[in-house]
């Protein structure tokens, strides 16, 4: 228990209770759906039938649904696509953004103002869906994974946040390195980046989540089902409830083994879509307020 300032009286018992209930309720609102989905994905046919839908009470657990999904086929392939796009995209985006943020972080450098203006202007208007589509198609990017990566590779917001963070690094630090004859690349790599791990992690997460979640670009630019990322598969087979025919999910099942329940398979797809976010998030979360927001407000 932290010590309260002397003027703040302890909350009343009733007030504390209401607050506690409220917080519990809010937390449950977020966690409960996730809990049910995870549990159902791990359930057996009997458990799902008995519950008449999503499972709330844990019973016998089975990984059959995941086994089915990862035995090759649509879902495995889409997971690979999403992972690949996320990895390649995040690498490109982060590299380009860090470089530009540093390149624009020294006021008064050559072309600094027009280039910054060019970046900031993108806040005011988007390129428009139809013209973007025409561009992508005339570049020959339709049905390529680049159509999921390149159009959003640089997010002006991320660039600006990163830049303002770099600008908060005292000039004495970088200047002394310059005097010692270090190149700008070296300064960025050896001095600035190690001081900016938090903000880099957060911006990296923003980009990665963007790529992992990319759905609409895929709908727009990919006609070839075989190239679908996970989010499109999620929509097709879970949201729209198109049936997953065996052999479409994976290999035909080994004779005699019953298929895992279809609801469990659907929920397993949901879990796979959730998982990376749940996994990376805790490591980055503590940097949110400190790294990004405060840095951005201070400018």
């Amino acid at each position: 228990m932290t010590t309260l300032p002397p003027w703040a009286e302890r909350p009343s018992r009733a007030g504390g209770l209401v607050k506690g209930l409220l917080l519990t309720l809010i937390t449950l609102c977020v966690l409960f759906p996730i809990y049910m989905v995870v549990l159902t994905s791990l359930s057996t046919q009997e458990a799902v039938t008995e519950a008449g839908g999503l499972v709330t009470v844990p019973g016998e657990l089975s990984f059959a649904a995941y086994g089915e999904l990862f035995s090759g086929g649509v879902v495995s392939r889409s997971v690979m696509v999403s992972l690949g796009v996320t990895l390649v995209g995040t690498t490109i985006s982060l590299t380009v953004t860090v470089l530009a943020a540093y390149g624009l972080s020294r006021p008064g450098s050559l072309l600094h103002r027009p280039m910054l203006f060019l970046v900031l202007l993108t806040f005011l208007f988007g390129p428009g869906m139809i013209p973007s589509y025409l561009l992508i198609s005339s570049l020959g990017l339709i049905d390529t994974y680049w159509s999921l990566i390149l159009p959003g590779a640089v997010a002006a917001f991320n660039l600006v946040v990163m830049r303002s963070f770099f600008m908060n690094i005292p000039a004495e630090v970088t200047d002394s390195a310059r005097v010692d004859g270090a190149s700008e690349f070296r300064i960025l790599l050896r001095l600035v980046l190690p001081m900016s791990k938090g903000v880099t992690a957060v911006i990296g997460l923003f980009y990665a989540v963007g790529y992992w979640n990319s759905f609409f670009n895929a709908v727009l630019y990919l006609n070839d089902n075989a190239k679908w990322p996970l989010q499109v598969v999620l929509r097709q087979y879970v949201l729209q409830g198109q049936s997953l025919i065996v052999g479409q999910t994976g290999n035909t099942t080994i004779a005699g083994q019953p298929l895992p329940p279809s609801l469990a398979i659907q929920m397993a797809i949901v879990v796979i879509a959730l998982l990376p976010v749940l996994f990376v998030y805790p490591f980055v979360q503590r940097h949110f307020t400190k790294g990004v927001i405060i840095g951005a407000i201070k400018g």
Binding site: M1, P5, A8, L23, T27, V30, M36, G52, G53, T97, Y102, G103, R106, P107, L111, L118, V119, L120, T122, F123, L124, F125, G126, P127, G128, M129, I130, S132, L134, L135, G152, V154, A155, F157, V160, V161, S164, M167, F185, F206, V209, W212, N213, S214, F215, F216, Q231, L234, V238, L239, V270, A273, L274, V277, Q285, T289, I293, G295, A296, G299
Partner: protein, 339 residues
């Protein structure tokens, strides 16, 4: 507008430009002094590395953000993909005339505006209340834990959020299931056009209300604690302190976000509506962005869709600029600073 740009939420929309504005000013001063002293060649020699570093990002933005703007010319053409942009016949403003006479365009506009208005009333205050609640949690670990939980859904895709809602409130969802077990009729909230506006607002709250608190929490942390102490010494109750110190402390940011939201009145988000349009029906779920999509990519009326997109973009731009002017009136920075 396109989805893979990372969503930043209200916090992001606000903070970055404020920072950008400040740094720009600094840049101006420094630029002026250095410009008068050094010739171009020596500046190039000094800064070529920085230029080289910035180049890839600028190139990407030029190609994928600025070049498509040129493509908007097809709004003034009778564009056919087989003929190409160069040779398609010019038709002047006739696409826009069609658009303004098109009832379904106005329906989509009306839907967009009603959703904005509805969300302004029912979504907008939620992050503020949540932030005040979170701020009142004194135990830091508990507070961080709850914050971590409520931020999380912001990082889920819309497909995922809609899917989760369907599992909870759809025809075969948990709610229906529970009702049926109790002997009532099940209900399907996911396909009901009458409650659609409330449904999308609930989804938005679930996904983004927590994330929206970040900016308010930062503002709350910036309030001078001495004010609370002085008020407490003067005998102000908990509620009075909230009314006279906490809320006035948040006021600038509330006003700013409110104005910026009004500037974005035509942007209600794309995927959320795209995903639910089929289930709920066009009458309730068609917004301007989905209108453009369905009219163009499915019927091949490229020029018409481009015209609709252009109108939306221009009106949106005007709204943002007006909102920003208003923000300046209130003494705020807006999305860019008055130079």
């Amino acid at each position: 507008m396109l989805s893979d740009r990372v969503r930043t939420g209200p916090a992001g929309d606000l903070t970055s430009p404020a920072g950008a504005g400040t740094s720009k000013d600094v840049g101006k001063k420094a630029a002026r002094t250095s410009r008068t002293r050094q010739p171009l060649s020596s500046r190039l020699k000094r800064d070529w590395q920085l230029l080289l570093m910035t180049l890839p990002a600028i190139a990407l933005l030029l190609v994928f953000h600025y070049v498509p703007l040129l493509g908007n010319v097809i709004a003034f053409q009778d564009y056919s993909p087989y003929v190409g942009m160069k040779d398609s016949p010019w038709v002047g403003l006739s696409n826009f005339q069609w658009l303004l006479l098109d009832e379904s365009f106005w329906d989509a506009t009306l839907n967009t505006l009603s959703i904005t208005a509805f969300q302004l009333i029912f979504y907008f205050p939620v992050p503020i209340m949540l932030a005040v609640l979170l701020d009142s949690v004194v135990r830091p670990r508990l507070r961080l834990f709850v914050q971590g939980i409520v931020y999380m859904p912001h990082f889920f895709s819309w497909v995922l959020v809609v899917t989760l809602f369907q599992q909870m409130f759809g025809g075969a969802g948990v709610l229906s299931q529970t009702l049926r077990n109790q002997g009532y009729d099940g209900i399907d909230l996911m396909t009901n056009p009458d409650t659609f506006i409330a449904l999308v607002t609930a989804e938005t709250i679930w996904k983004d209300a927590g994330w929206g608190t970040i900016i308010f929490l930062a503002a709350l942390a910036a309030i001078n604690q001495n004010l609370y102490e002085a008020a407490a010494v003067d005998g102000a109750s908990r509620w009075r302190r909230m009314w006279h110190i906490t809320l006035p402390g948040l006021r600038p940011i509330i006003i700013l976000l409110l104005i910026l939201r009004l500037g974005e009145a035509l942007n209600v988000g794309f995927e959320q509506f795209f995903l639910q349009r089929d289930a709920v029906g066009r009458d309730a779920a068609e917004v301007l962005d989905t209108f453009v999509y369905w009219r163009t990519l499915l019927t091949g009326e490229w020029s018409y869709g481009a015209a609709a997109g252009l109108v939306k973009g221009l009106v949106g731009l005007i709204l943002i600029l007006v909102a920003n002017k208003v923000a300046h009136r209130f003494g705020e920075d807006g999305i860019y600073k008055r130079s």
